[in-house]
């Protein structure tokens, strides 16, 4: 009985942490997209303080990025590569944003992230 109660408390704490992480990510991501959507340069997009704050949150945000990208699109390629060190986009698809996104989502699917 006591163990069941402890487990429930742990689950509740984990849920709260996950919710807080999601909220923090959503706030930063909304602001980043709003303030950089008119830029063409991926370098300038990535230099934005909100993008740097998202990357500083660490690999824990990779599933959040992938889920957001699946729902809403966006240029998350820099952050994903920086956080994972991976490059799932074949050279033949360079510049083709929907296909680049699909390559990352496929990468995420294989790992159970999205």
């Amino acid at each position: 009985m006591k163990n069941a109660s402890l487990n429930a408390t742990d689950d509740s704490k984990a849920t709260k942490v996950a919710d807080r992480l999601q909220q923090e990510f959503d706030l930063l991501a909304d602001r980043w997209e709003r303030e950089t959507s008119l830029l063409s340069s991926p370098s300038r997009k990535s230099e934005h303080p909100t993008h740097q704050a998202i990357v500083a949150m660490g690999p824990v945000v990779v599933p959040l990025i992938l889920r957001r990208m699946k729902r809403r699109g966006g240029h998350w390629f820099w952050a994903l590569s920086q956080l994972t060190g991976e490059d799932p986009i074949p050279k033949t698809l360079h510049g083709q944003v929907p296909d680049m996104r699909a390559a990352w989502l496929q990468w995420g699917n294989k790992r159970g992230y999205c």
Binding site: E35, S41, P42, G73, G74, H75, D87, I89, G95, Q96
Partner: protein, 188 residues
């Protein structure tokens, strides 16, 4: 991968501090927002690729954005002149004010000045293409957002800097370039 499209707006959503000269009177939205192409893809006529040189992509990984293999992978005026040259554009002589000419397509390249250590340099930020029918109007793809038709001066400001130079190509050169684009130029 189906992404929910946003509805077309009549006016661009922007921060007035970024574009102090852009008003509801000097621009009109002419498309829905699409992420397939950016301003460079738009002016060269490439409907499916995001063109930009990204030399500083994280770590040893190659940039996933398109940039012609034959051009320097650097955000410099020279690299942009070279890349736009691959699709038939050549730099207009100094003094060209970007006025409409028959059978000629012109684009305007914006640059911003950045400070680096002991020097400053111009970094390309945006390109707009001349409206084919109206001498005083230009068209721009605004990052990942909409296309707009606008006065050229209207996009000067903090985000894009100012118009630095013009480039032009003949309609015949455009036809050849569009055929080349279909064959898929190799990228960095």
């Amino acid at each position: 991968m189906a992404i929910a499209r946003r509805k077309r707006r009549r006016r661009l959503k922007f921060n007035p501090q970024d574009f102090p000269l852009l008003t509801s009177q000097n621009h009109t939205v002419t498309s829905d927002p699409v992420e397939e192409q950016n301003c460079i893809g738009y002016v060269v006529g490439d409907k499916i690729r995001w063109w930009w040189p990204v030399p500083d992509f994280p770590g040893p990984l190659p940039s996933p954005y398109f940039w012609p293999l034959s051009c320097p992978l650097e955000a410099t005026v020279e690299a942009f002149v070279s890349a736009l040259g691959t699709v038939g554009f050549e730099r207009c002589p100094p003094g060209d004010d970007g006025r409409l000419e028959a059978q000629i397509e012109k684009l305007a390249v914006f640059t911003a000045t950045v400070s680096e250590k002991h020097r400053t340099r111009k970094v390309p930020t945006h390109a707009a293409i001349q409206s084919p029918l109206r001498n005083d109007k230009w068209r721009s793809k605004m990052g990942a957002d909409e296309d707009i038709e606008h006065d050229l001066i209207a996009l000067s400001g903090k985000l894009y800097g100012d118009v630095d130079f013009f480039m032009k190509r003949t309609f015949a050169a455009k036809k050849v370039a569009l055929a080349q684009l279909k064959k898929r130029m190799p990228s960095h």
